[in-house]
Symmetry: D3
Subunit: 158 residues, 6 copies
């Protein structure tokens, strides 16, 4: 019976590329025996009171909703074993950045997963430094989350 | 004789909007007696060996350059009193996010400065939560950096 | 075979209300399959050399005893998955506060458990902010410690 | 011209003993040339929108007010050089505890100031450990905030 | 089926004493059912690209190799449950010190293991303070890693 | 009137090389207008009750003395602006390592100062990574402590 790890599922759901990568990454971790998907943290499932701002635009200026949803994501970062970022080099996202930065300063492990056809494209310098390892999306289903190790991004940095 | 604070000058220099805001913010802190501009950290002035990747594309895959420049920015965040982000809501930047996230977990003060004509536009939920205060660019020259306080963003969050 | 989490059992044992809540909370986590009670940290079981100050008043001014017992509790906070505070709103305790504050800055999960008949009473503003979730004591035996999430206190704050 | 330090003025204002100590401590730091009182953080002056819950009981359940006021105090702890707790041994306060615990984990200096006629009385074990130094209130006006050093509490611990 | 913990195996391999203790400690944790040896982090197995500087002296001045190997060890410290230092009092090592210091500030558990015939010899004052517990090498195979607790070093400190 | 910074003066006093470097470094910072020597933390001046273990061997096993002296140094690291290590490559010291490791995780700036005739000699890999900048002792008197920046060690790493 294998051990496994929880992940903070850090991924956008706003563009086609993001949605495609989101779904493929979700399938990959479900197939990966070293990930505890059931107890992992998926931000989209933790919007305060179950309300999403894209479906409820009246939340745009509701500070109670914003504060609670932000704190939900903060708790997700703090209580997960691994911050896993599904990363599209030319659609970088500031929210993902804040999560990676927090995670790094708190001593979490930051794993950056890049779709195969985006691999090698230039990424932001700060992601290069805040990431602890970088893999292709096709490698995700076999990645051993129980053996975190370090490597540089094998691609360009701007 | 007034006290003053050092800032980590966190701002993009890639688009017209960014450049305009960058220059205005720089002028504002020079005019602000509570900022110690001379000893503040401006990332653009700390590229490893003085080389910029936009002028030296051969650096794109040079890991020594990337690691050193990243570490320069990390040191800037750690040694400055305030992380000041010149923030364009519709041109959010992941590198800025990583700096804000790190700063928050280390206990630094995150000040978000938004150009007046962008004020109120939706910002990322994580910036809403990681920011300690939000002001308009026109307020920057008179902002008292010696009296950091908290406030919510007075605008939309997505 | 279910996963489970260790808790730092943060609770007073000085008043009748505290003792009653202490015992009920202990029974609840024993009945909760998502808690690893055996490996959880109960401060009362980690007094230095097995000596309790309430039974050995000569320890009141013994700095070696005090330093070691304090460090024991610090280690308990650092090595447990969850800081679980059994919280009586009108008998708040500064020691519990220090543990919650440390835990928050280190990125631990703070769960505040309030006896049902005390629920809704005013709690300190800092507990409101340092707590990651708030539940009734009757909910403790069924609370899923493997799925930490955020919520505000559903009661008053002073 | 002397250097000076900012303090987070951590003190209760709810009982007679607290108010007396509060006022004496405030006078003492005003007389102390190593404290920058003007730029210090006094929580009572940073209630969200200037509203105090003791004067506006309708705020008791207002989460926006509570979240903002909590964050104000968090910012105060993070941005001050020293956390100065005006400490009444038999009126310990959980909010002060959370501030001391956070401050310790973030690497701030915790100075515990005890009224002379309370000196030596038993204090909580966690304060003993989280405090970096302990002085009498009568010593405060001459304490050198520029030379922080460590000492144990010279009194009882329970 | 017992729970177990991962360790960061912090030990020198440069002198006879170190090698002997290294091997004995490795055997002990393999025999200890509360240690997950398979997923533990052994720095010697994570030299960048599998290259060791003692076998490849050309790496002495290779910054990419140095930065990556350092980051590997940093990741090991951050992702392991326990930092276990195999400690020879008269052959103290600065690298081990940096790992223990980082671990302490991040809230990890530092276990110092000393060969039986070295037990009691003077150790550095900072190790005394940064260590959370101290045991003899002969006790390692039976030590319960699931029940971390605090104790002072039972020997001399210089 | 120039700003200046406090340093934690991290240096051994046990060998001839160390004593020589210690004295030269002390002279250099006294001559450096960007260092606030008066308010800097020199561990040798903060031994608990003014007692040094090299002069009072009975302290070797006195835990109150050890705990207080350790905490003094911890406070020194936490409250100084810069951790300045006077570093002899072939006489590395574990206590210095613990201070550098703590400082790094807390976000302090680590400056490594190496005597000119030792410059370039191999240093420990962890110092390479935990150090933020490396300078020669002859450069110390002119180093601008108000402008902390990053650089790699320009020498060998083992």
């Amino acid at each position: 019976m294998s051990k496994n790890k929880t992940v903070y599922f850090c991924a956008g759901w706003f563009t086609d590329k993001q949605n495609k990568a989101y779904n493929e990454a979700m399938e990959a971790i479900k197939a990966n025996p070293t990930v505890d998907v059931e107890n992992s943290y998926v931000p989209l499932q933790h919007q305060y009171k179950g309300l999403r701002v894209d479906e409820h635009p009246e939340l745009l200026e509701d500070r109670e909703w914003a504060a609670a949803t932000y704190n939900g994501d903060r708790v997700g970062v703090q209580t997960s074993d691994v911050i896993m970022a599904v990363y599209i080099p030319d659609e970088e996202d500031i929210g993902m950045g804040i999560e990676l930065g927090m995670a790094r300063a708190l001593g979490k492990y930051n794993l950056i997963v890049i779709p195969d056809d985006e691999w090698g494209k230039p990424i932001n310098l700060m992601t290069f430094g805040a990431g602890d390892n970088f893999i292709k999306l096709s490698e995700l289903k076999d990645y051993d989350f129980n053996k975190p190790s370090f490597n540089f991004y094998d691609g360009a940095v701007y």
